[in-house]
Amino acid sequence: MREINYLQGIREGLHYVLEHDPTTLLFGQDVGAFGGAFKLTEGLQEAFGIERVFDTPICESAMLGCAIGMATQGMRPIVEMQFSDFITTALHQLLNNAGTRHYRTGNAVPMVIRAPSGGGSGGGPFHSEELEAFFCHMPGVKVVYPAFPSDARGLMLSAVADPNPVVYMENKTIYRAVKERVSDPFEPLPIGKARVCHEGMDAVVIAYGAMVHEALRAAGELQASDGYEVMVLDLRSLKPYDLDTILSAVSATGRALVVSEGWRTCGFAAEICAAITESAFHLLDAPVRRLTAPDTPVPFSTTLEARYRPNATTIADAVRQLIEF
């Protein structure tokens, strides 16, 4: 067992697929010799050569278009958005071009888009966005979002092996902060499987990405301060999401809080609320609640950003309200 951080988990996943699958390629702005804006891809160009790991000009649409072309000709490209935010210059390539292609033509488009996401470290409005609601709204696109180093590795393997466009979301704030002891070798983690990462019967907190760690802290706090046993469910895949596991959790607890650091209106949390309500209305002892970022641009200052993002304290408060409903 070695301890690695979240960023290393992603990097090991990339290393693995580049090593084991000669059809894989990794490209993006500054991902080569420089190792990427977060040094996440450091060493990969050195290990696999400039033909496999390379820098591109600043052109998100051409990058995604190129990946579609490659994916339909026997390769498995992995494209890095330097920041998830910049994909809004080229969403048509994902929604319209990659996402519709199999449905329209029967041609598979196995490509992975790495989307470093999320706030919490002073990125400001354009380097902090959580765009999973956009991605999950797109037919033909899959979305994964690991929260732990081991899942980051396993999901990278599955995302790359999947014959469809997969957005691989990564939370920048936990790149180095979240660590885990992992064993080697590692295996693909099936897309679409959530995981209960803390047991409890009083309520369930459904989370993903960095919010899983806030939820775990909240669960610990609630246990210590109120004696509440709160289940924490890490979705890990957002599309498809694991409705079965969600419903089991709801049936076990009767109370659910969905946490997301994305915007509230039409956010991913709304989807989970709606799905639970539709499928498990009779199991609910209280309405499903959302705890999300508000509908404001992601603010820059520490004071505002701290208020903007859900955290262990606000989660614990929301869970208390839910239990005491």
């Binding site: 000009p57 052109c59 000709q73 329209r104 029967g106």
Partner: protein, 331 residues
């Protein structure tokens, strides 16, 4: 302006190639005419778009190509589809949304293509397919296949950010892709004066550090000579090239459009420069085909196209309960 060299090259075009060119152009024309007929009979759902008047451009590229080449057709490239292996029946099925067509009725009109023919199905977002073709060629090359790409765009499409990103990207990576601008004077109702201010669109080539070449898009032999030379050149010296083919859209943007905004003189000018007529005349004077043979060709093709239409009309649209199938590819 033709140089003596061009004249000689055109004269040297193999008679068999000449015949293939003419056949493909006529085939595309007849299929387009069939589409127009079906459209005005109310049998086609949604809009119908044709490439009438622009057949020489796609034809040249199709005939000049090799099997491993990749294509990104756009609105006016029926001849490309047909030249790369799609059948008139396939086209009829596509425009009639039949379940046996290339997109099985999930998409319509020009939004199709078969990867087994090296042809990408376009999306509507103009300019988006250039980088796809570039990426496809890049992938093939990495697999040791000497593929060349050809992407078609209209004059209007040159204003999109995607056009720019893809050309710059292809230049940086020395991707052998020929981007053909079919300058047909209009983007929907907008004339080129409302679209750009450079003199010729190939003035953009220098900005990508690539070659820009002009050709007469209505002269099939010139197009063929030009396109095949470029394709064979970039096949061995990989790099993108921009080619501007001047031509004219002889109908509305789609069949719903009466194109009253086009001056009659312009249409007249190009009616006299119809690519099929020009070719027939050139072949006649080169004694490659006489009027009788041409008439026979037309009759034969008309029959084939009509049969295709009859066949497709007798078939069904996809069953409603297939709606949810195939959004994702199975692992």
């Amino acid at each position: 302006m033709w140089t003596l060299e061009t004249v000689q090259k055109v004269a040297a075009v193999d008679p068999a190639v000449w015949r293939a060119i003419l056949r493909l152009m006529v085939l595309a024309r007849k299929v387009d005419e069939q589409i127009i007929k079906l459209c005005h009979q109310g049998r086609i759902h949604g809009s119908s778009f044709t490439g009438i008047g622009q057949e020489a451009i796609s034809t040249a590229a199709a005939i000049a190509s090799q099997p491993q080449d990749l294509f990104g057709p756009c609105i006016r490239n029926l001849a490309l589809h047909l030249g790369r292996g799609e059948t008139p029946l396939g086209i009829m099925r596509q425009v009639l949304a039949r379940s046996e067509g290339a997109t099985g009725g999930r998409d319509g009109n020009i939004h199709h293509g078969r990867l087994e023919n090296g042809v990408y199905a376009m999306i509507s977002h103009l300019g988006a397919m250039i980088s796809v073709v570039a990426g496809g060629v890049m992938a093939k090359r990495r697999q040791g296949i000497q593929s060349v790409g050809v992407a078609f765009v209209g004059d209007g499409t040159t204003s999109t950010g995607d056009f720019h990103e893809a050309l710059n990207f292809a230049a940086v990576f020395d991707i052998p892709i020929l981007v053909i601008i079919e300058n047909n004077h209009y983007a929907y109702s907008t004339p080129t004066t409302g679209q750009y201010r450079c003199r010729r669109l190939i003035d953009r080539a220098v900005g990508y550090g690539i070659d820009g070449i002009s050709a007469d898009g209505n002269n099939a032999a010139e197009m063929y000579v030009t396109v095949s030379e470029i394709m064979e050149d970039i096949r061995v010296n990989p790099r993108p090239v921009l080619l501007e083919a001047e031509t004219m859209r002889m109908r509305g943007h789609g069949e719903h459009d009466n194109f009253k905004y086009v001056p009659e003189e312009l249409l007249l000018l190009y009616r006299r420069r119809d690519p099929i007529n020009l070719s027939v005349r050139a072949m006649a004077s080169a004694k490659l085909m006489n009027a009788e043979e041409f008439a026979a060709l037309e009759t034969e093709i008309e029959a084939e196209v009509a049969a295709a239409a009859r066949q497709a009309l007798s078939e069904q649209e996809p069953a409603a309960d297939t709606l949810l199938r195939g959004v994702y590819a199975d692992a």
